[in-house]
């Protein structure tokens, strides 16, 4: 039973990946839509970033002094200037750990 549900979920997921790549012809999208699609990364990823920082495991908002906010700010600053993915992730994690383990 669970396996059947997993297979359905898998087929559905595959269709979300495949539909626009294989079934839609690029000419069907006008220039205006193509221009808007330039914004896809900026329009999608904050929906993963914001809840990952501001909402805890129980689905409620974190306090304003939560170490995750500090970690995220450090990661933004380090990432902006270093342009380096590893430095961004590490600086965010380290500053987060610094607060929860040291202070």
């Amino acid at each position: 039973m669970t396996l059947a549900a997993i297979i359905f979920a898998g087929i559905l997921t595959y269709f979300t990946r495949m539909t626009m790549i294989a079934l839609i012809n690029r000419d069907m999208l006008g220039d205006k839509i193509k221009a808007v699609l330039e914004y896809v990364p900026s329009a999608v990823f904050p929906a993963i970033i914001f809840p990952g920082i501001f909402i805890n495991d129980f689905g409620t908002f974190i306090e304003i002094n939560d170490p995750k906010i500090f970690g995220a700010l450090v990661a933004v600053i380090v990432g902006y200037f270093s342009k380096n993915v590893i430095a961004t992730i590490f600086s965010g994690l380290l500053s987060y750990w610094l607060i929860i383990f040291v202070f």
Partner: protein
């Protein structure tokens, strides 16, 4: 002109820093599945059949919480519907491929792979075998995800929970979008998406993950109109 092998390797290299957050997250995903009481084979089958990080955890949490399979399947579909947007962006670079190749390559389209390959595509439009970059990012992600979830299933949550490694996921996506903070229009779009995701976080079926990008793209369309 880069060869297929060079492009594939470049894709692997471009996505590998993200494994810093993907691997711990995969271990956590595998371990949670077993902790929730699901058979290890089923938990692993998800990594192969669904191959979609957060949606796998949500699926198992819903089922173990007593939700119907229909609700669980629908939630996975809605969480992963963001791939439609990735596909729309990538289709420009993949349109010359045969239908079969498009069907195969679709299986490995993931968030970080899309982000890194899209950046590469924009700078190297004229390469003939561009899609090998996407295969490189996608396959790297696939292999790491399988190994990570498997280790979580077999060894349990050997990543200490106190480390809060789930926090590495938002960090990895910060690394992806942070350079676009230089552009005011992108900043507006990002803030719109982020605030909407918090506002609609309690919407049914985790639909905030597609509602907020749609709102943000609507704002992007308005901004484009204002620019003219």
């Amino acid at each position: 002109m880069l060869t297929k092998k060079q492009l594939f390797t470049r894709g692997m290299l471009d996505i590998s820093p993200h494994m810093l957050s993907v691997i711990p997250f995969g271990i956590i995903c595998g371990a949670i599945g077993v902790e929730l009481g699901f058979h290890p084979y089923l938990v692993y089958a998800m990594s192969f059949i669904i191959f979609g990080g957060a949606s796998q955890i949500v699926f198992l949490q819903l089922l173990s919480g007593g939700a119907s399979s229909l609700v669980a399947v629908a939630s996975v579909g809605i969480i992963n519907s963001r791939h439609l947007l990735y596909g729309a962006v990538l289709s420009e670079y993949l349109e010359k491929l045969s239908f079969i190749k498009k069907l195969l390559i679709s299986y490995v389209v993931v968030d970080q792979g899309f982000a890194e390959s899209n950046k590469f595509f924009k700078k190297n439009r004229n390469e003939e075998f561009l899609h090998y970059h996407l295969i490189g990012t996608g396959c790297t992600m696939w292999v790491c995800w399988q190994i990570a979830t498997l280790s979580g299933i077999v060894l349990g949550s050997f990543v200490p929970e106190e480390l809060g490694l789930k926090f590495a996921i938002p960090l990895t996506f910060i690394a992806i979008v942070v350079q676009d903070l230089k552009k005011l229009d992108h900043v507006i779009v990002m803030i719109t998406c982020g605030l909407s995701s918090l506002l609609f976080f309690d919407a049914p079926f985790k639909s905030y993950i597609i509602i907020s990008p749609v709102i943000a793209l609507f704002i992007a369309a308005l901004l484009l109109r204002l620019k003219k």
